[in-house]
Symmetry: C2
Subunit: 454 residues, 2 copies
Amino acid sequence: MSQHTTSNLRLACVMVGLPGRGKTYISQKVCRYLQWLGIHTKVFNVGNYRRKLFGAKQDHLFFDPSNTSGLHQRKESANAAIADMIRWFNQEDGIVAIYDATNSTKQRRRHILEVLSKENIQVLFIESFCEDEAIIMDNIKQVKLSSPDYVNMNPEVAASDFISRINHYKLQYETIQEQDLTYIKMINAGSQVIINMIRGYLESRIVYYLMNLHTQPRKIYMSRHGESMFNLQGKIGGDSELSPRGLLYAKKLPELIKTHLGDKQLVVWTSTLKRTIQTSQGLNYPKLSRKALDELDAGVCDGMTYEEIEEKYPEDYACRDDDKFNYRYRGGESYRDVVLRLEPVIMDLERQRDILIIGHQAILRCIYAYFMNYKHEDLPYIKIPLHTVIELSPKAYGCEEKRYKVDIDAVDTHRPKPVKSKLSKQAQQEMKSGASGQKINNSPILPISPQFMA
Amino acid sequence: MSQHTTSNLRLACVMVGLPGRGKTYISQKVCRYLQWLGIHTKVFNVGNYRRKLFGAKQDHLFFDPSNTSGLHQRKESANAAIADMIRWFNQEDGIVAIYDATNSTKQRRRHILEVLSKENIQVLFIESFCEDEAIIMDNIKQVKLSSPDYVNMNPEVAASDFISRINHYKLQYETIQEQDLTYIKMINAGSQVIINMIRGYLESRIVYYLMNLHTQPRKIYMSRHGESMFNLQGKIGGDSELSPRGLLYAKKLPELIKTHLGDKQLVVWTSTLKRTIQTSQGLNYPKLSRKALDELDAGVCDGMTYEEIEEKYPEDYACRDDDKFNYRYRGGESYRDVVLRLEPVIMDLERQRDILIIGHQAILRCIYAYFMNYKHEDLPYIKIPLHTVIELSPKAYGCEEKRYKVDIDAVDTHRPKPVKSKLSKQAQQEMKSGASGQKINNSPILPISPQFMA
């Protein structure tokens, strides 16, 4: 029997744009998104190679095209990054590399395309083009002045140096127009987007993801439902009502949100299960129940306690402890399945402004992991306690987090990662080869269509 | 408790492009896609209004801009279509209208925008721009010569008349460039795409959908798994193996596919359940198992026979018969849920060339309904028998269908639509108001985000 096709796709996203156009922000976002989906992805930032090879804190004169030594050293940095990227594809089975540099001339882009094509790596150029001075100054202030190039420098001196650096690049900058290249050009932070020769599935997903990003400040609030009757009984899954303490939490929630949000607009998403809808009852905002936010389906174990599962399905229980992200309940789901089901939710979430998600433990772990960049193996152990609101504020290079605990007791449903596997070596082997009852699916989560590959 | 927000979004997709650029094809595809998702959508084709008002079979001189009577009549047709569209929004709660006409000048587009904005209707312009003569001639031959304007006409005379008609429009055609309009411009059948000022969620979905379309000829094969042990026992759901007859079907399948496909490449998708994977065993093509293709989840009824369900949950059983599309099994899914889960699959399916989907009854009904334009109320009764391959060939305005029955007996799992509801009037009322156990969710399937609405 022929197996799932393994992808032999290798894609390099090559950034294009003047300094201060958000290239690094875009690189990081795309990287986190793809990693969350289980696609092996890495950013290669030429600035980091330059700082490593030639020291930090070069002033703008280093970037003057008439400075031949600077030019030479920048070229060397760029080539070191490319060489390392190719090594990564070949030796570490890379799938998507993001090459973060200005790549500001036709000649440079043609050169990169040739070098990578020879290695059987597809190239998607991503240009961020911006002539809106307000957006650029905003980006410089918010991001660049905290970059490693300007640590501990007077902000005004830094800003002025950075603007001089931009001007050096502007002299030779050529916006992307090459008809035969695969590219996406985002103009003025996405108010216009041009897409050329996009063919593959993965390329198309990245493009759609980029189209959904915005950089307006906002807050993402997350809360589990209030304590449920099943929580009290130690049972998993089901569709039970809130416990008396859970109802108290639901009563307190509107005030807590109001305190931190003020009078701003908010959207509330819940699952379709009673306990999240009940928890949202007092919130006077537009609400949406989404089936995709329903809790991880425990299949035949739905409604059992962990003790019952351990007794009735001891091997399964051990398998789950051994690889919780990939373990799929009999007739139910794995965390990996849940990530796939949440992908359209994440896409939609990126479009939102202030939002409150009232969800479930496994669901919020997956969403939290996306924003906070957790690895798959750690994801199922993220602490999302009951009666606690988590507030995430997306910033240029990550998220700030605050947690607000409401003073109403609730059971603790967190099960820490077991120190040692209870599985026999043989069972582990069987599980990994897919021989046991619970299939382990280690293929990348995105269904990459074979015929669209190189 | 505040309810789900009901959408007050009204969107008009206004087509732009010379004759023969695939505007009607795009209109129909977008309309079918949105209707399938449960969004009330209608196409308003100005050509149809013209033929109704002024008779069919006008020759190209009618479209000559110096023909004042023709000009007047065309304007009248266009205005009749707009008036009807606005009436539809206001009186029939329309959500998305597609206005299918050339709209070839800036002035015309500005006028439409003003008229629709006054009615609180958002406007998304969709331009198909093509200068590739080969693509245009192909479209004319394949599509236009069978249009109502040219029925029973000598093809060469028709083609020459149509080219003259295009030339009349060309004289005054202005491609869309207005910076303040929301638009997508597809150049040369999508090889380049320009997107301007796309803001809303629904707009973004339509744009992404358009980006995924291609017009290469291809075939979509669908088959249910071979007969399973559960089929034999009359049980629903589960994860059983194939019956001996089901295994025979799996053995015959490769030959059948080969006969109709020839030596062409094929991709095979299965669900993650044993019976579809077993059915795919003899097929020597790249395969992908997708969780999103798993059978409709029957929740607490999983593994029961219909008789057992009727005995154990008589009210549920009656509810399902009463509104099978919206009925959600306790702890499981409705057909509506399945459509939502399949949406990313459809998006991906549009990108594919020749493909075989080995699926399940409910899943294939939903996919079939998308291509064949079935209404939601009829969708759960589509006949997808066991041991039969369905071949769909997408054409310009719909799909051609062939069915290949394999000569191996199998049980019949189709349950026809009951003639009369067994539900009491009161139960029907309760069900519709959501008072009974089984929630009926009549909100549109796409989660439209309130704050992105006008």
